[in-house]
Amino acid sequence: MPHVVAMGGDVAQFTGGQAEFDVGAGTVAGFLRELEARWPGLGDYVGARMAIAIDGEIFQDADGAAIGEASEVCLIPKIGGG
């Protein structure tokens, strides 16, 4: 099952302090649904405000991105730039 690491403190406010957990999902869209089901509000928050790094590659606004069974998923604040 994909292992999730949340960085930046935002996620912990939804999870009661939990920053690492496992979530079964094959795509980012499914992952967000699982988060929302487990911690109401978190799926929407992550979808709108965070980027998702899957096995080291950062995805922003990419519902169709695939998540492997053994993937490392990292939640980080969305990134802009100048």
């Binding site: 960085m7 790094a53 950062i58 922003q60 990134i79 100048g82």
Partner: protein
């Protein structure tokens, strides 16, 4: 001097014909001959001239705004103030560099209830001449109740600081505070046992550093013309880093439908992140709607300094723990950033990048976003990263001295490499940090001897780079030449790189490709030009559109040869028939296919929209040699060397230009630039005579070394290159000055009085 490591010559190795070459820039002639039309160059028949009235107070309640006398002045056609703008909810909208609160954005465009910084817009006028508009400003009577102000970040964090907003309750804490404060948000990134690791370290170094607010310093002031018709259809011509961003923000601020606005980009005279939001455009639209005529608004340099986003001044506290062999075991970084009048300093990205160059097992990075009575900060090239890097890289320099090791070797020993999990979360892949670092030692400048009062400094930097939404269209003309249209303003050479990638894909000379930037009604949505995304993301859209054109061309050739497209190969700009049943067929060129396009299906064209993922991160390593005049405290930069992992350089001259430009802006940040405020919170140096950016005669040639570690997620291996090079220079210069004078100055800028004082303190 310029060099490229690990890259074959164009036409060799990878077999590229256009990628990696240095054609003349497509916008070059227009710019050097003065024909390029920038924001302020646009005009329309019957156009009115607008002016903005700005607060003279750093913090004041607006008791009343009386516009009657101004409206009575002959020639005045419209006057607006905060009461004329819709009230907006605190809705976060993606449009610029990050999600922005529309309530805050609208309030920044035009003050209501309170003016939050000197220069905050409080009213605006449109008149038949600039002189009448100027005179009308004096007739607008604004009654203020001045309030106590606060600009210094740590003063603003104090419990008894003047409260700027009563609706800010610090976010990111375990419990939401019961009282409002100026501290908008806490960011935190933690891994491992930092306290335990610091306690067990053989060597600990601790430092505290500060930077001042600095402006992006683009040469072209903000400017626009807006026209709102009686049918509710609006048009804007303006200079920005994203005309779709202008459209989104204007629609939100004025509660318009996006489809009712069309925004045409002007040529842009520099942005560096500072043109990723709106200031004038909504005001001009509203004035135009009231006046029934187009309205032009152009900022003066004074207005640019006082009212548009600089980047934050900040405090950076760093604690590093290491073993005797130089292995860094722990790091603690605390960042406090001025946000300006509304939340949203770049402290989040500063925190994420602070330790990104290193593999450190235990760390705690805390960032504080703090509102202050100064202009709302805007993005500035690798937002926040130069500030945190200044602290971390200065501390790394001192740690190297304490350990007695070479500063490059210390960074290499602890440096990020493939497989290392970055401090901000993801695991790095295909990065060239160590190669960039080692290239410093291979450069002749590393071996240059230093004389009296001279010193050498080294520093490194990181930027994420991003992808995002882009659209590109490729149209083939009847003569076989191509037009490439994108929705991204060209702030750093993107037209040239788009033309090169299209030419490479189509197999035609780059001179046969004309790149343009299309308006919001003529091309699909494109995120703004920022985050070092355009050559990567929009380039990907260009390549995909060119590939669609090729598929189209193959289908047309198949029709001509009476075969299937699978039996057609496209190579070097020609279609080849592979169907042996058709006998030997002469290849069909793009020109030939274009000439008979009417008979094979009509115009040849393709548009692709995508959301690009897989942007590769950028790493830069810089080395600076300086000489300090001990009598005056003046610093001369003798040599400056910038190396960088650039992915694959699509147009190497532009990549080198980005590296040089970033270095120069960072040198200015380190040595000269700062916002200076008087006791009333008014800026004292709002002009280029008193706010001094480096000019060519101040600097040596910036030597560049491009390290090419191609990004496998881009068709030609491109990575963003525009932001990483501004990250290291602040510390590289400061470390060089430290080496030259033997004492650390932790506060930027390293102006002559500070250097003189440091030399005196050492002598005393």
């Amino acid at each position: 001097m310029s060099d490229v490591l690990d890259r074959p010559e164009a036409g060799e190795g990878e077999g590229f014909k256009s990628v990696g070459t240095r054609p003349i820039r497509p916008d070059g002639i227009e710019k050097v001959t003065g024909r390029a039309a920038f924001g302020a160059d646009f005009a329309m028949p019957g156009m009115l001239y607008g002016r903005i009235k700005r607060s003279p107070h750093a913090h004041a309640r607006i008791v009343s705004v009386d516009t009657k006398k101004a409206l009575a002045l002959p020639g005045v056609k419209a006057v607006v103030s905060g009461a004329d703008f819709p009230d907006l909810a605190d809705e976060l909208v993606e449009g610029g560099e990050a999600a922005s609160s529309m309530r805050d954005l609208a309030w920044n465009v035009m003050a209501r209830a309170k003016a939050l910084y000197e220069g905050h817009a409080v009213a605006a006028v449109a008149a038949t001449s600039p002189a009448i508009a100027e005179a009308a400003l004096d007739l607008i009577e604004v009654t203020y109740e001045p309030l106590a102000h606060v600009i210094d970040v740590e003063d603003a964090m104090a419990p008894d600081a003047p409260l700027i907003h009563d609706h800010i309750f610090t976010a990111g804490l375990d419990e939401t505070p019961k009282l409002p404060s100026n501290i908008a948000r806490k960011h935190q990134f933690v891994r491992g046992d930092v306290d335990g690791a610091l306690g067990a370290a053989d060597v600990v170094f601790e430092g505290r550093y500060t930077t001042k607010a600095v402006h992006q310093g683009y040469i072209e002031p903000h400017a626009c013309v807006a026209s709102m018709g009686p049918d509710g259809q609006g048009q804007i011509w303006s200079s920005s880093q994203g005309h779709f961003m202008v459209r989104t923000y204007c629609a939100k601020v004025l509660k318009l439908d996006i489809s009712d606005l069309r925004v045409t980009p002007a040529e842009i005279g520099g942005g560096f992140g500072g043109k990723t939001t709106v200031y004038l455009e909504p005001v001009a639209l509203l004035l135009s709607r009231i006046a029934g005529a187009p309205v032009k608004l152009v900022m003066s340099r004074d207005e640019v300094f006082r009212a548009t986003g600089p980047t934050s001044g900040g405090v950076i506290e760093v604690k590093l723990g290491a073993k005797k062999d130089g292995t860094i075991t722990a790091a603690e970084v605390t960042l406090k950033f001025q946000a300006g009048a509304f939340p949203g300093s770049p402290v989040g990205t500063a925190a994420m990048t602070a330790l990104a160059c290193y593999d450190i097992p235990n760390f705690r990075i805390v960032g504080w976003d703090v509102v202050t009575n100064s202009a709302k900060t805007a993005a500035y090239r690798a937002p926040g990263a130069p500030i945190s890097a200044f602290g971390v890289e200065s501390a790394m320099d001192e740690l190297a001295r304490k350990l007695g090791v070479d500063p490059v070797d210390l960074r290499a020993k602890n440096g990020a490499r493939d497989g290392v999990r970055a401090a901000y979360g993801p695991t790095f892949q295909n990065i060239g940090f160590l190669e960039s670092l080692h290239a410093l030692k291979q450069h002749p400048n590393w071996h240059a001897n230093l004389g009296p009062n001279q010193g050498r400094g080294v520093a490194v930097g990181f930027w994420f780079n991003v992808g995002g939404e882009s659209t590109a269209a490729v149209h083939i003309g009847e003569d076989g030449t191509a037009t490439v249209a994108t929705g991204n303003p060209d702030i750093g050479g993107s037209r040239a790189s788009m033309a090169i990638m299209a030419a490479e894909t189509l197999g035609i000379p780059v001179e046969d490709v004309r790149p343009i930037v299309a308006d919001t009604a003529s091309i699909g949505y494109s995120m703004l030009t920022g985050g070092s995304r355009t050559t990567f993301a929009t380039g990907m859209a260009v390549v995909r559109a060119a590939e669609k054109v090729i598929e189209n061309l193959k289908a047309r050739a198949a029709k001509i040869w009476d075969t299937t497209p699978e039996n057609v190969e496209w190579s070097a700009g020609k279609a080849y028939c592979l169907d042996t049943a058709k006998g030997e067929q002469k290849p069909l060129t793009l020109k030939g296919l274009a000439a008979q396009s009417a008979r094979t299906g009509g115009p040849i064209s393709a548009e692709v929209s995508l959301n690009a993922q897989g942007a590769g991160p950028g790493f830069a390593a810089h080395m600076c040699d300086v000489e300090v005049d001990p009598e005056t405290g003046h610093v001369t930069v003798l040599r400056y060397t910038a190396t960088q992992d650039v992915g694959r350089a699509i147009h190497p001259s532009y990549v080198e230009g980005q590296m040089q430009g970033g270095a120069v802006q960072g040198i200015g940040w380190a040595l000269n630039e700062e916002y200076i405020f008087d006791a009333e919170g008014r800026m004292e140096n709002a002009g280029f005579l008193d706010y001094r950016v480096p000019v060519a005669s101040d600097l040596p040639m910036i030597d560049t070394v491009m390290i090419e570690v191609p990004n496998p997620r881009h068709p030609y291996g491109a990575k963003g290159v525009g932001e990483a090079p501004i990250v290291p220079p602040l510390a590289a210069v400061a470390n060089a000055v430290r080496d030259a004078i033997g004492v650390r100055i932790p506060d930027l800028p390293l102006s002559p009085p500070k250097i003189r004082a440091a030399i005196d303190s050492k002598a005393g």
